[in-house]
Subunit: 383 residues, 4 copies
């Protein structure tokens, strides 16, 4: 094959998977993704002590073109990443530093895995040559006043907000390709918009009556040390939180409204499940007059038949979170309801992968001119 | 014994809790619920090797008036119950026998914990003096043809079906008091009907648009040895099964239709959760014109303020399955939806207690003339 | 009230289980354990916002003689208990107050569920008429210098330490009966001493070579909000913590040394398990010359055949934590090892019941002159 | 193809990771590992409907040189693999066939994932050109009579037994390189032998007193549909099974005895944990006179410093199963015991990877002349 067709990167060296392991001069060196060879994109991870940060590192460990050049975590500055995440001890990675001490001159791109609020100012201070994928919520809402309403503080980088591209890859791929700053979508909004946007665009469902019963694994809450996230409080039970008000609502409604060219208000009830990863949105819709579940199925088939990560399952097959654990897939399907004129749509993702770090990597691949699936071919860890 | 004498039952004997433990003549004898003293109702459990059977035994262990006189389990006949359920080893209980070998002359009442299908014939063969609470699905559907449709076989005891009283205690208490045969409700139908029946009766919600997203712990499937119930297949994931067709649908629709005096068709999607016990029904309803969520709340308050086990929580408090683990409570609450005119109702139960054996005991208490809460004062095992 | 009158307590009043439910003047009032009737022991729980406190309340809900008169939780003072523990919302209980505001004149006994360190001073300030069961570690170690070594601070109530009786009920029952202050044992020490003390006393095992591999559910760590106790960090994995140094070591060695009349040093490795409750100690011992596993079995049989809560299982039956969930039992058994001359002992408890609040109630029953099993007849919540 | 040519295999083609995805002629084709290109080793999986089979497929999905040519599962013959393992639906894989219908002429190597017992005869019938890694227990025990004793049937392919090489890669790498038939080790024996063999060879520990307390996730039992493996029976509890007799004992003792040049008898107690994957062996050893834990540490350091998958952690760092989920690593460490002269060794693996399919792939890599880590660079799926 000719690798030259890739924007300009050369693939005619050995696979970096193998190369990296052999570069140490020993027969078998430890796995690692530290940036080193000339043709490797040098990546920084800002906020590497949280779950989305560590998930980026898990994925990059097998990426053939990206290497890790920089890790920041202000409160853990000076520590090796293994002291924060023991499972990363087998990788060769840079130590954690404070973001203020970071030298970005040798970095090509960053994943920003910081909490919302502080993210705005840090991104505003980053040099212009960097490609940025922001996993926080700070640049997802185009309407600054809506940000203020849901996050309780005024937005401090409205000019950057205008530049940011919403990173729902399957829907906005071309815009992402040319973006400098991508606002990576939330997990719930990803699992909802992938199935609904094509159906709304095709006017197949009633937009006034969309009911979403969403179930999420606990890692969606990040590594926050809160009482309600303790094992003893989560295991063996369900917790419906934010029944009337969850911050992912405006983001989801923004995307669905764009598809509908009209304001969409959703019913959205998230449930915390006793599981680490995984998210399922069970979506109850009323179909437009004369539309059948088969019509919905065919529309989704047309929309996603060439997609690798948005996958419509075979007729009647129920998507299961078990099938996407650790993967970047979004599995979807459509079912008839007992109530005539209604349909049930189920979509599942791994909230930390397609719902966060995986989609972020998918986006950065595009932004850097690579095939979007590079480094993302993980299959589900089942059982 | 004559159950009628119990309406004036005297409690001035010693607490049987203490009495039982002391009857052995030793300072401390093992806990147990074997029938023994004169004023004790002698209870049989048919099908004691399943989870609803063992749950009956857990509850009876502290019942002040009921003692266990008989345990059957055909395939385990001859074994001590502890060989089937090691956690019951500390109780004094009769050995398992085959149902055909059972002598019912010394038994006053039975819990029938057998699989649907075979139950009909066994109950038809029981002597008339027995009070019977049947935990199977065999006598729940009044319409014999509906039974045949959903269970794939003709009903073989239609005359008994006519006699059977549906055992949703809070709704049909007076009928249950005088029943000989009670068809104990399914777990999903219990969790749905308790909140919805009063609202439908009061014409507060639209009966054409009831959407139920139900979540159940695995024990709802019983002790069936099936691949999809293995730890490795259940843990850390969600499984939406029977999306379009679950056997609890006709039972639920029957109860809601009775309340509405009109045929109700529901949208019902059950989800298997990675937890042992617990059931939550998240119910999405459209309110009748002019009705508010506060109206729903007040109606439920009026309906259940004198009930012990159906409990409407304080304004805004989310019912949690954690709060009912091992208990007979059904906790409910009502929430406003983002979509105007809609409301969200959440109810939780322990599927093995209020959803099965606890409600069965509540019913038998009534049938025998006791306070319905006898032996049911368990508080949630949290954490 | 005078606890001495209870040795001849009359049980011919109605069972308080029933009585309590009827006292409200309604047919069925909510379950609750608020102190009210004249012949009820009025109990306070100091530190009611932690798991051992809430577990005391679960157990007291069905106690025929004890009522809850006082609940303290300094940081939650002024709140109803249900705001801290939603599962207790169905009980009638006093609101939380600060310990400094507590009026102990109407309290007969207290469970002290406070953290170690602060406990000493609070107990020192309590009035003399109170019976006290302290669930913290503050009064478990007779050697004050050992306390200082393991807990990193000098003991501030050494005179009370001298008075305190170690509350391992099966071993020190008579002393407990007459105690004013009982130091309730830790969970690990309970699970280890119950099987080992009789074997050491009978000189059946080598005291120089006792290896204990202990496994605990997460609730043993209390409701502490720590990163390593998050669901995401605990589920689906094992965590061996404190491999060389756990604070339950000196307490265990003290008890075993007492039995041996000689200093015992143990090998003790605790493992945090992905489960809420339950504790198993797998104990590897070398038998004295000429001793067989059958000798160990017979010794334990003799020691515990009249005990209700320390139960030696039938030959070859493996004790399971599943069998003690929510109960006060300690199940034990002995197995031959492949290495000649060695044996394996397994004991299981529920760390929150026999390992904490259940044994505490067992002790208070004794201290107040009641049968020790009052209110403790819970059977395992299985499945 | 000739596998021998691989000792000089050229890596200067593009990474097959990328190549495979593009071979379909579309921009992005589905991930898959179907054998297709000329320089790919064509692999068969016999018994693809169990967990070790599906785990091989997960790993092969990213292997740059191996493609899947054949999948057998007798009872599921004719079905697509996705009907047995829905999580594999996103891969392009051959349908399942019966082993008797398999054409091995286009297959270079097989993983044999069949149950013990039947495996022997099937392997005996395979053509000679195949490289075989057998994941069953059938060829692990050199002593045929020992096989008969522990597996209850005579061995039916003793001549093959003589040829088989035991596949503990780090210990027997050179023999494996030249093997045609490798008996892949069991999970427990792997986790025990990796830390102990170097210590025994160096005579640093007493071989008469090795006590192993092992904990395993449930997937170690395979996809067997048994009551004791149900979610309801496993979750939230510990199950010590086979306390005195587990089939992995003779295999472990064989390996340790080889290292010791003397018969070793171990104390081995396996515990089933409520987790899907992961295995920990906590090993209690008595050190040889004058030996310190530091000596053990240094010996393991020397033995494994050039190994990729056997990793000695930093001083005092506790190996955690969480750190190896989905990976081929064995993490080990040594700790001092409170009892003088004793040490505690902890090793952890993923039972399905280093304990089964991962080590199998590591071995086949060697047998085919590739670097042993090809396709095995997965990092732990944490959280």
């Amino acid at each position: 094959m000719s690798s030259t067709s890739f924007t300009s990167v050369s693939f005619n060296t050995a696979s970096s998977w193998n190369l990296k392991r052999r570069e140490g001069g020993k027969a078998y060196v430890r796995c690692g993704s530290a940036a080193s060879s000339e043709n490797t994109v040098r990546v920084g991870v800002l906020g590497a002590s949280g779950y989305t940060g560590s998930e980026v590192l898990r994925l990059l460990a097998n990426h053939p073109q990206f290497g890790v050049a920089l890790l920041t975590a202000d409160r853990k500055a000076g520590q090796p990443i293994a002291s924060v995440f023991p499972h990363l001890a087998t990788q060769k990675l840079p130590d954690l530093i404070a973001v203020k001490d970071a030298d970005f001159s040798h970095v090509d791109a960053v994943f920003c895995c910081l909490p919302h609020g502080t993210t705005q100012e840090i991104i505003r201070g980053l040099p212009n040559h960097l490609k940025i994928v922001d996993l926080s919520a700070d640049f997802r809402l185009r309407d600054i006043s809506e940000y203020e309403e849901w996050y309780g503080q005024p937005h401090r980088a409205p000019e950057l907000q205008k530049e940011a591209i919403y990173g729902l890859t399957e829907i906005l791929r071309e815009e992402i390709r040319n973006a400098r700053l991508v606002a990576n979508p939330g997990c719930y909004p990803t699992s909802i918009q992938i199935p609904l946007v094509p159906l709304i665009k095709a006017k197949l469902i009633d937009i006034k009556n969309i009911i979403i019963d969403a179930k999420s694994g606990v890692s969606g809450a990040g590594r926050s040390v809160k009482e309600n996230l303790l094992y003893t409080e989560v295991a063996e039970g369900i917790n419906s939180y934010g029944v009337t008000r969850h911050r992912h609502v405006p983001e989801t409604e923004q995307g669905l409204s764009d598809a509908a060219h009209s304001k969409v208000t959703i019913s959205f009830t998230p449930h915390l499940m006793p599981m680490i990863r995984g998210m399922q949105s069970t979506i109850y819709v009323e179909m437009a007059p004369g539309v059948s579940t088969e019509d919905l199925y065919q529309q989704l088939k047309r929309s996603y038949e060439n997609e690798e990560f948005a996958v419509l399952l075979g007729n009647g097959v129920v998507p299961r979170t078990h099938s996407v654990r650790g993967t970047n897939y979004c599995l979807i399907n459509v079912f008839p309801d007992r109530i005539p004129g209604r349909a049930i749509i189920i979509s599942v993702i791994d909230n930390l992968v397609k719902g966060a770090s995986g989609q972020a990597l998918q986006n950065l691949n595009l932004m850097m001119g690579f095939p979007e699936n590079l480094g993302l071919h993980y299959q589900s860890l089942f059982p």
